[in-house]
Every structure is written in C-alpha cells, then in structure tokens.
C-alpha cells in the first residue's frame, strides 16, 4: 500500500473579483506531492503559481475544491485555527525575504517559535542558532536584516521557515531578488534539505531550478499542463 501523499489538491479553483470582473487564477487543479519531494512549480507570470502556494499555506482559500496538507483539510480550517496550524505545519520563504527589520537575524528565527510556543523558551535561542549554523549564517546572528546581503537574508528567512520543524517548506520565488550565483546556492540548499527529509514546494521562474526537482509542476493559465 502506498503511503498517502503529504499534499493533495482535488479540483481546486480560485477566482478573484476585481474592478475588471472575475479573474480565475486556478481552474480545476488536482495534484499530489509526496513527503520528501522537492516539487518545483513553474510557469509564466499570471499562471497561478503564487496562488497555488497561497492555497497550500492557508493564506488564501480555494473558491472550489479541497486542499489537504499532512492530512489537514486546510480549506476547512477556521481563521483562528489557521494561524496556529500554519505556524507549525508549514514554513514560508518569500521572494523579498520579509525579515522583520527591527529584529536581529536570530530573533527573526526565534519569532515563529515564540508565536507557536513550539519549543520551550530556553531552547529557542540555541535552536535558532543551530538553524543559522546549518544555513551558514551563524556569524550574522546578531545583525539586523538591513546589514545583511540578499543571499544572507534569504538564508535567515529559510532558517526562520524551518524554525518550527514544519512538514513542508513553501518557497515563493525565493531567488527572484538574488543574483544567479546566490540563486544557485539557495537551490542547492533546498536540495540538501530535501536530502535530509524535508519536503519543499518551490515556485520559481527559473528553469535552472528544474534540475534539482524531484517533481515538477508546470502551470499555464491556471491549469496544470505538465
């Protein structure tokens, strides 16, 4: 018997209403991603990549269909429970890093543990330092984000995403703001995390990322085309 997939989308559609009328970002998307996969979602701008990631993170809700992550019906979670679930079940890496500017690198990493009470208070700092060490930016721990390079900021952001040991790491264009060399190192880092058992779903424009992927999903006009 095959183990059940970590992520399962079934007939998911997402539409937005705006001044220009109703816009369908995703249309009848069904897919599964197994545990330990490095799933790379590619497609052109407006193809629905980020919307898909938003649905997996519980940031958005589908207009139709079901979204299951680690056995949790994300589309049915009430808003109050959503934050707590998101904090523990998924780690999010943003294109613009989104580190809180008034917190140091290590404090940024400790923040999700603080919100979710996932670790005893005394263990949070050592754990955050260990994550920064793992990502090669431990020497930047007490610096504010504004003093770090783009690559360093993204490594801190990845460490933050891993803080609560999430089942899945969701990365939305994580290299969109980085040069090609740094981008490459980030892809390698994700691949290494996958080797260690982490499931990663990454949205990207960069075709080069495909060589690290164990599963690729191509979207066009809101539909899975490959």
């Amino acid at each position: 018997m095959n183990p059940s997939p970590l992520i399962s989308l079934s007939h998911v559609s997402k539409s937005f209403s705006g001044a220009g009328g109703v816009f369908t970002a995703l249309a009848d998307v069904s897919l599964t991603i197994d545990r330990g996969q490095f799933a790379v979602v590619v497609g052109q701008s407006g193809s629905g990549k980020s919307t898909l990631l938003g649905l997996l993170a519980g940031i958005d809700r589908p207009s139709e269909g079901e979204v299951l992550v680690g056995g949790t019906a994300v589309h049915q979670l009430p808003e109050r429970a959503m934050s707590a679930w998101r904090g523990r079940a998924v780690g999010i890496v943003f294109q613009f890093f989104q580190l809180l500017p008034t917190l140091t690198a290590v404090e940024n990493v400790m923040l999700p543990m603080d919100f979710c009470d996932a670790w005893p208070a005394a263990e949070r700092r050592p754990r955050a330092m260990a994550l920064l060490e793992r990502l090669g930016v431990a020497d930047q721990a007490v610096k504010l984000p504004s003093t770090l390079s783009g690559g360093q900021q993204q490594r801190v952001a990845i460490a933050r995403a891993l803080a609560n040991q999430p089942a899945v790491l969701l990365a939305d264009e994580p290299t969109g703001n980085l040069d090609s060399r740094t981008s490459e190192s980030i892809f390698e880092l994700f691949a290494k995390l996958v080797e260690e058992g982490q499931t990663v779903v990454m949205v990207t424009h960069e075709r080069g990322a495909m060589r690290y992927a164990s599963q690729s999903i191509t979207l066009a006009d809101g539909r899975v085309v490959a």
Partner: protein, 794 residues
C-alpha cells in the same frame, strides 16, 4: 536595548517604538498633554476638596448661631446641657469703620472672652501674636491687603459715634470659615471685649454659637435643634433676633468651587478626548505602515489575538511613559492652581497633599486612553487577511478611501494647489479627526474670548445699568433722608443722591421657626440709582405699602415663597406681613427690597445709614475728588462717616477676579490648540512619509524644493483653514455652555455668543501660525528625501 529576557515579539514592539522616535514622541506628548490638562484639574479639585473639608472642619464651624441679648455663663451652661448640643461659645460681632489707605472701610470685629481658647470657629495664627491683648487688634489674613495695613502698624477704628481710636496690629490670623475679606469688602478683625469697650462699643456677647453632637445630621435636623435652643434662650427672658443655620459641613463657597472645577474638568476631559483622537491617528498610521509585517507574522503562525496584544501593549507602554511625564506636571500645575483658588477663598494648601486616588485615576486613564484609542485600529489591522496584508503595496497604495474628483472641477485653481487640496482630502478619517481637534480648540478659544467680552459687558452692565451710583457712603449715625440728601446734593459735581435704609430680617415660617437672616433694604420708590433686572412681577411703586421685591436667590433659600404670596418677616422683633410683587436678579446673596416709606413704617424709624451718590461727571477718574469733597462737606456739617466706597474700585476688583477665571479657560483652549497643532504636525508627517515615492516622482520630473515645501505647507493650511471655519459655528454652542457654567459659578452674564470680528481674526492668525509651525518640519523632510531613495521606498 539587548532585551535578551524578552521574547522576540516584545523586542519588536520596543524597537519599533525606538525606530519611529519622532512618532513615538508625538504620541507620548499628545497623551501627556491630555493627561496633564485633565489631571491638573483633577489634582486641583481633589486637593481643594481635601483642604476645604479638612481646614473648614478643622475650624469646628458652628452648627447654628443665635443672636440674642447679653449672654452669660449660666445661659451657656443651660445650652450645653441640651442633649443634642456639643460645644457652646459666645461672641460679639460689631460693625464699625477702619481707616485704611486714606479712606474708611467697613470693619467687622469679632470679640470673645478668651480668644486663646476659642472652640468654635477656630482661627489660626499666621503672623505676630495671638490672642491680641486689650487695646490691640489682630487682622484676618484675607483682609490684610484690602485694609492696606501690615503687622506692627496702627489702624484707626471707629464704632458708631464713639471717638476713633488707633490700635496696633499685633497679629494676623486666618479664619477659614469666613468668606474672604477682600471679596466681601470688609476688614475682619479680632479683639477682646475690653478693646470693644475702649472703642465705645457694647462689649457684652450677643452671638450664641453651638455645634451639634452628631455632625452627620442633615440641615433640617440641625434646624430643629437650633429652634429648641432658641426656645431655651427665650425661656430665660431674652429676645432672639435671628437664628442662622448654615448647610452642615459645607464651606460658604463649596458650591462655587465644585461648579468652577466641574466646568474646568469638562474642558480637561475634552482635551483628553482630543489627545485620544491624535492617538487614534498615530496608531492607525503606525499600523498602516506595518500591514505587511502583520501579514508576515501571521504567515509565521501569529494569531490575531497575539498581534493585537502586541500593539495594545505598545499603546499601554506609550501611556505609561506619558504618565511618567504628565503626572508630575499635573501635580505641579494642580497644586499651583489650587493654591491660587485657596488664596482667593481664604484657605491655605500648605501641608496638604494631593490624594493618592487622584494619581491612581490619572494613571488608570493614562494607561487606558491609548489602549482604548488604539483598540479599533489595532483590531481592524490585525484582522486583515494574510493574503491581503502580504499583497499590501505600502501606505501609498491605499488612497482609494477618498473620492477627490470633485476638486478637479474647481475652477481657477493652480495644479500644485489642486494637488495640495486633493492631498488634504485623501485620508478623510485622519483629516476629520485632525480638523475636529483643532476646531474644538478654536471653539473653546473663541468661547473664552466671548466670555471675556461677556464679563466686561456684564460688569459694565452691573456698574452702569444696575448699580447706577458711583459712591456709597455709610454714616456712623442714621439720619433723616431729606437732610442728608440735601447736604450732599449741594456739593459741586453731584448728579443724584439717595439715602437707603436697611434692617436685618428673617422669614417667619408656619411652624413658628425663622429662616436665615437677610437684609431688607428700603429705597425711594422710583429709585434712579438702582435697577435690578426683574425675573418676574414688577418693581416697587410710589404707593407700594408692604410690597417687597425679593432676590431670585431668596426663592432658592425659601422655596415656599412665590410671586404674589404673602410672607411674614420679623422686623425689629415684630412679625410684619408683606406681599411679594416682584422677583429680581440681585446677586448671589439673598435679600429683599421695599420702599423707604414702607420700611420706615415697619421699623417705626425713617432714618437712613447708607447714601448712594451719582456723579454728574461720568469720568471715573473724577469720582475720587468728588468723594473727598462730599466727605469734607459732611464733616463740616458735623455728619460722621463710617466708610465710603468708590464703585470704580469695586468694579475693577470684581472685573479682575472674574477675568482671572476666564483666563484659565483661555489657557485650557490654548492647551487644546496645542494638541490640535500636534495632531496637524503628525498628520503632515504621515502624509509626507506615505507619499515619499510620489514626492520622489515629482522631484524627478522637475519639482523644486520650494514647490515641494509650498505644497506641504499648503496642504497643512487647507486643514487649518477648514478648522478655522468649522470652529466659528462651533463656538456658538460653546459660548452658551461656557456662559451658563460661568453664570452658575460666578455671576450670571448675558451670554455673548457670536464671535466678534477681532476674535475671528485672532483665531485665524493663531490657526495659520499653528499650521505653519506644524507643517514646517514635514515640509523640510519632504525636500530632503533623495530622489533615488524616494523612488525605491517601499
């Protein structure tokens, strides 16, 4: 700020505050001003309440005073034996004249057998020796300036027809139970009965004072005891002239103090409310700038409740810091203001502290105000869906809340000015709160100017239209009115003269008890020297017999009295029946008026002791000389004058004190305008911050520093001018409110509600000045942002 003991989220709160120092400073300042404004009034009130209650009760005030004949130790013992009576004392009060600053003033001398052992109405020694020895005098503190004497000097006193005698002022004492001498125009002093005898006054004691054992009794119950004591006194064969029962435990000015401070407290609360508006604006802007961070934190697992707690804790912290600043300021101002009012009311705040509950209340309000003000924007901000928060374009992207298309249709407006106008209306809620804050300050400012005008007009009305005489002369010996009027009429410069008679009387009730004593004044039927405004009924006419006009205050003290009703007054110990034909507004003291002829008939004596004189020359500077000529003429004719008073002096004393009260209102309005100015400064700072990118674009396409500067200043000016305009109609109800409150506290003033041209112009200058200052720093900052940074600003 290491903060290693703090969780990261609290470190973020602290560092956000530190990062936005200017904004933090503005919020703290706004809350501090509000708390300091309201807190100073609260501190004043709490301190005065404590001082008046403790100091007044410390004097052991009489529960009742009975005027009767020679009081001896046997009578005192008999009264003391009454089961409801606590302490008993006897004294004599003699009215005479004291020569001070070259003119004679009314003196009230208190004498008792042993001044060193006064048990009721205790006095405190302020300077010199106490008690005064025989042949010496101690002046009551509140009369010292009015008397124009100092410790160690001599004053000349005259009682009745006796020879004037010089007495040395050996002490200054304070009787907190007396209304201030300067206010009453009376020199209060303390002497021994032997000194009274030396002055030619009767020295036997005629005022029986006592306290009730149970100090918690209501006025009615005390009054019943007083009438039992009165009956006891009458059973000894003595005649009782009147019985006076004051409101138990209440100082004579307690009502005025409360009304005054309540009115001020209302404005203090308004200032607090307005500072709350400013906090709403600033916290809203702070949250708007943090929408994306809120989204990120939610994406990291933060719940709305956790985020709300963070931002509300931030507001609480701001309130705490504001309290640290505001409480000492409020205490300092409150103590100074309480000292000022206490001085006016003859109290001393030295040795008294502001009660702890007043501080506790200020801390509670100081902490809760920012939390309450922040709660709506915080809850709204923290409820934003994560997706929306993460899509946030930054604060500049949210201008859709206001439709300003109508501004484009305005003709004859240049493009930069149109931009400023449009900018001013972009954030309607923020603009409205800023505008209301400034406009409220302006309305109170205009209200205070109107009150000032009302006071000046009222005093002019009182001393011109109501009291139409310029000099009042009190005679040592009452004289026939015709002869004294003839004598004064012959003096060059005299326009009109009227002799007025008076007696003390009291209302006789159906249950044979007497009301509190009040003066009944007899005037010529068609008096040309006084014209009190009638509330109802008519004034006295030539044929009036046993008609009286009572003061409206009288109806409050004797609520059973009505226009047209018959009232029994005790005149010279005999009951006499009068008809109330009119009710007039005559001031804060109860009193009644009848014709001189009617009072002469009731008294069996038509002589007058008070003469009022109207000068032919209306220039007040000539009235002093006229007064001296009249004194010379009367002395030449052998008429002895007890005291004389120039109404111009009374007028200026009254006006000065009333204007002092109005001045505090002006200060309150300035405080509110300051809060409004801070609001405008913060609004303009936020506007510049939000439009950094826009400003960068304008500069990139050629806008010079001057143009950017002018645009920001013009935007501030648009809000300021709008608030100027809004304040004008708002000042009308404000003036009514202020006028009515003032009337209840001090003197009923005809409310001046429409702001005068001068006031409107003054307010315009103030608001333009505030706008220029408030917009100056934001305008400078707008011109200093480098184009590259402005365009990259997120």
């Amino acid at each position: 700020m290491d903060g290693s003991l703090l969780r990261p989220r609290w470190r973020k709160v602290l560092r956000d505050l530190w990062l936005h120092k200017a904004r933090t400073f503005l919020v703290v300042l706004a809350i501090a001003i509000g708390i300091a404004g309201a807190g100073s009034v609260l501190d004043t009130w709490a301190l005065l309440r404590r001082v008046t209650r403790d100091e007044f009760s410390g004097t052991n005030p009489a529960s009742a005073t009975i005027r009767t004949d020679a009081i001896d130790s046997a009578l005192l013992a008999a009264v003391r034996a009454h089961p409801a009576v606590g302490e008993v004392a006897a004294r004599r009060t003699v009215v005479g004249a004291v020569q001070a600053r070259g003119s004679w003033r009314t003196a009230m001398l208190f004498a008792t057998n042993d001044l060193s052992a006064v048990t009721i109405g205790k006095v405190q020694t302020e300077a010199g020796t106490w008690p005064p020895a025989d042949g010496a005098i101690a002046i009551e503190k509140s009369s010292v300036d009015f008397a124009g004497v100092a410790l160690g000097q001599s004053v000349t006193l005259q009682i009745g027809e006796a020879e004037p005698r010089a007495l040395e002022v050996v002490g200054i004492a304070r009787d907190a139970g007396l209304a201030p001498g300067w206010m009453e125009h009376i020199v209060y002093a303390f002497v021994t009965p032997a000194t009274l005898a030396m002055l030619g006054a009767p020295s036997d004691l005629n005022q029986l004072q006592f306290t009730v054992r149970d100090r918690s009794l209501e006025w009615e119950a005390v009054r019943r005891i007083a009438y039992e004591v009165k009956a006891l006194v009458e059973r000894t064969g003595r005649r009782v002239a009147d019985v006076d029962v004051p409101e138990p435990g209440a100082h004579i000015h307690a009502g005025q103090i409360n009304s005054l401070l309540l009115a001020k407290g209302a404005f203090g609360l308004l200032a607090l409310l307005l500072s709350g508006f400013l906090v709403v604006n600033l916290i809203s802007a702070m949250l708007t700038g943090q929408v994306r961070e809120i989204g990120v934190m939610k994406a990291l697992g933060a719940r709305s409740g956790q985020l709300a707690a963070m931002y509300l804790a931030l507001a609480l912290l701001l309130g705490f810091v504001a309290c640290l600043v505001a409480l000492p300021v409020a205490a300092l101002v409150g103590r100074a203001y309480a000292g000022f009012i206490a001085e006016i009311l003859n109290f001393d705040t030295t040795g008294f502290s502001i009660p702890t509950w007043a501080f506790a209340l200020q801390v509670a309000v100081g902490l809760l105000l920012p939390v309450a003000a922040a709660s709506i924007p915080v809850i709204r901000g923290c409820r934003i869906p994560v997706s929306e928060a993460l899509r946030d374009f930054g604060i500049a992207g949210q201008d859709h809340e206001s439709d300003t298309g109508w501004l484009s249709r305005l003709g004859g407006v240049t493009r930069p000015l149109l931009l400023s106008l449009r900018n001013a209306f972009r954030k309607r809620q923020r603009m409205a709160l800023t505008l209301i804050t400034l406009a409220m300050g302006g309305a109170v400012y205009l209200g205070s100017l109107n009150l000032r005008t009302s006071i000046q007009r009222s005093v002019s009305y009182l001393f011109g239209d109501i009291l139409r005489y310029d000099i009042s002369i009190r005679l040592t010996r009452p004289m026939a009115p015709d002869s004294i009027e003839r004598a004064i009429q012959g003096v060059a410069g005299v326009g009109a003269v009227e002799g007025w008679s008076s007696t003390r009387t009291a209302v006789s009730h159906a249950d044979s008890t007497l009301g509190n004593a009040f003066p009944l004044v007899g005037q010529p039927a068609g008096s040309k020297l006084v014209a009190f405004p009638l509330v109802e009924g008519r004034w006295l006419t030539e044929g009036s017999r046993r008609d009286i006009v009572v003061s409206d205050r009288m109806l409050k003290e004797e609520p059973q009295l009505r226009l047209g009703s018959a009232v029994t007054l005790i005149v010279s110990g005999r009951p006499t029946i009068w008809t109330i034909v009119g009710v007039a507004r005559t001031g804060v003291q109860p009193g009644a008026y009848t014709t001189r002829a009617a009072l002469a008939e009731a008294l069996g004596n038509g002589s007058v002791a008070l003469v009022t004189v109207r000068a032919a020359d209306r220039d007040p500077s000539s009235h002093g000389a006229l007064s001296r000529r009249i004194r010379g003429e009367l002395e030449a004719k052998g008429v002895e004058i007890a005291s004389s008073q120039l109404m111009e002096e009374s007028r200026s004393v009254l006006e000065d004190h009333l204007l002092t009260v109005a001045q505090t209102l002006t200060v309150m309005s300035q405080l509110m305008i300051l809060v409004g100015g801070l609001g405008l400064a913060s609004t303009m700072s936020l506007a510049v911050l939000e439009r950094t990118r826009e400003i960068g674009v304008m500069r990139a396409i050629g806008a010079r520093h001057g143009a950017i500067h002018t645009m920001v200043q013009a935007e501030g000016l648009v809000i300021a001018l709008a608030s100027w305009l809004v304040a004008l109609p708002l000042s009308v109800p404000m003036s009514v409110l202020v006028g009515k409150a003032f009337g209840r506290v001090m003197l009923p003033v005809p409310t001046h509600i429409v702001p005068g041209g001068g006031g409107v112009l003054q307010w315009l200058l103030v608001v333009v000045g505030v706008s220029v200052v408030a917009s100056a720093w934001p305008a400078i900052r707008a011109t200093r942002v480098p184009v590259a940074r402005a365009l990259s600003y997120e």
